[in-house]
Symmetry: C4
């Protein structure tokens, strides 16, 4: 299908899917079963359960966007591979920060770092987007997609940065801002483009 | 094979298989080795071993049905991807509930929640089935498959709900009902259809 | 490539590879780092290191044979899928038994059960072989391959059973017999057949 | 695509990617969340975070080289499969040694063994390279690629050996040598060859 000289992105996809699958299920290992077989004991562990559900949703959103972007990749270039590794690295930090947030009951520092990790996820996504959309498809449609993607990215990166700063004083507000930013990525395609 | 505009379900399959493989083997990490190298110490841990075997079987049944359904998927639509994430989320809760059941020796609340999780697995499976069978293949055979699948699904969802309610008073009976429901899914295809 | 009616074995392969990859690396989590940064502390943990290396080799042998067999599979039939699940289930028990053997320093019961697990791996492999080689390729070469495979399988299953019985009195001898049996599977193809 | 007689390297790739994905994310499980929600508590854990980042980078470099090499593989021969298992085995030892280095704060023995593991990774890589580049592509370009690869490999293997010896007296210098060697592999292709 591909000669050895030009590299296919299939193995990059397979490796990324492996990492995403592990990261999204690693949190199950952090779930503790209640001490006693009662609803009371279960409700007592609510921060663990909520944090699992929320982080599952967030990682799913990141996967959907990764999946959307890598459809445009035609080859596994040096920059694509290393941009992807940087992206997966920042994704791999989500589980431990979620656990930290849950256990500290939304303290300032963990929430601020959580916003920082999502800023990193977004920055590395932008690097991937430059590589996937930038070089290989200089059509008019791609140019417009790229432009809208850049506007959205710079907007959400600024918002994540704001969330990070705000979290030091108002962690609940910071977490609300993070949720809003991620809502913007629920559909990977840009408004005004059919996408999927 | 697929242009970037229309999304192939291959990565959805690869990601789902990764999650299924992790969920089905995560329980091995919960297996404890006996304290002493004797059969007595091994038999003492029977709830752990039985629960591992039973949950392995149940997750295998869910995988077989998932595999059967996604063969019909022609593209990775928005609803397919999110229905799949919801399905995998409910599957990922099976291991921890099985451990809870085993350690509480079939107490009422864990068994009722176990039935609730399988109800969730079934509901999200129905959503996936609507997307996979409903939109893309409006042939006469597909209509009949879909109709039989719906009948079976509504029947088993009701049965799981009954099992959940019953478990609060008679957990052993509730677990028996769960096993019966899963038995209906042992073969994914609908009776009267060659299937596989 | 394949219509929805006839199922391709690709997803069975992908799922199996996921399970094998997890089972073979789960043992890394059991590896303990030495208490002190000296060779003495490292040598003190020799049963852990040896058992990791040996089980890695054994699971690699099982993977090579699985890989060899599933090349012959033309479709994912009901029996193939469930034979495969049974095979993977027995493989998933190898890590915990290896840890048990290492910690009990080759006590009788763990070694006997270890032999029993490998007997199970072999029996389920034979079921898979019946499905892969038996139905779909009734050529003269396949008949001969099948016959030689059956002879080898029945021979090694008997040897594993013998190892299990012997281990109750002489665990070291039992482990030696297990190693011999696995040596017979180092190359998956049958003598007198080019194979790979 | 491939007949059963000649084996395709796809499953070797899929299995390897699974192992790499698990090895690179297993270290997340070793990450401990800080005791208190403060930056001070986070900084206190710096050896854990640094070691995670560094080992992530090193395993990524090994994956990139593995990916580069296996593009040349035309079939899954006996030597390719077992060379690959040996390569993955040495890769799977990286996480535990990194943890050991971090906890012992760069003591002599862990750093020397770390250099030894990378020497092993490099030796098994060379075996894989012999199989992938040596047999199947006797073109002039391949001969030159092979020759340059051998020169680089023997050079870096000697350097890793030197790092191992040096570490017994000067562990910091040994670690510096390891970093230099890995820098040489940052781009898998050989200088003077377009590669990727």
């Amino acid at each position: 299908m591909h000669g050895p000289e030009e590299s296919a992105p299939e193995r990059v996809n397979a490796f990324s899917d492996g990492v995403f699958a592990i990261v999204i299920t690693i949190m199950v290992l952090e779930l503790k079963k209640p001490e006693e077989p009662t609803f009371g004991a279960l409700f007592h562990l609510w921060p663990t359960w909520i944090s699992y559900a929320v982080s599952y949703l967030f990682i799913a959103i990141v996967w959907v966007n990764h999946h959307y972007l890598l459809k445009y990749a035609k080859g596994a270039s040096f920059r694509l591979i290393w941009g992807n590794f940087a992206h997966l690295f920042s994704v791999s930090l989500i589980p431990i920060l979620t656990v930290w947030i849950a256990e500290s009951k939304l303290a300032a520092v963990p929430v601020a770092l959580y916003a920082g990790v999502f800023m990193l996820v977004n920055v590395t996504y932008l690097v991937l987007a430059w590589e996937c959309l930038g070089v290989r498809r200089p059509t008019a449609a791609a140019v417009r997609t790229r432009k809208l993607l850049h506007i959205r990215s710079f907007f959400t990166i600024s918002l994540f940065f704001l969330a990070m700063v705000v979290s030091f004083w108002f962690p609940y507000l910071g977490l609300g801002l993070i949720c809003c930013c991620l809502g913007l990525y629920l559909r990977p395609e840009i408004p005004g483009k059919p996408g999927y």
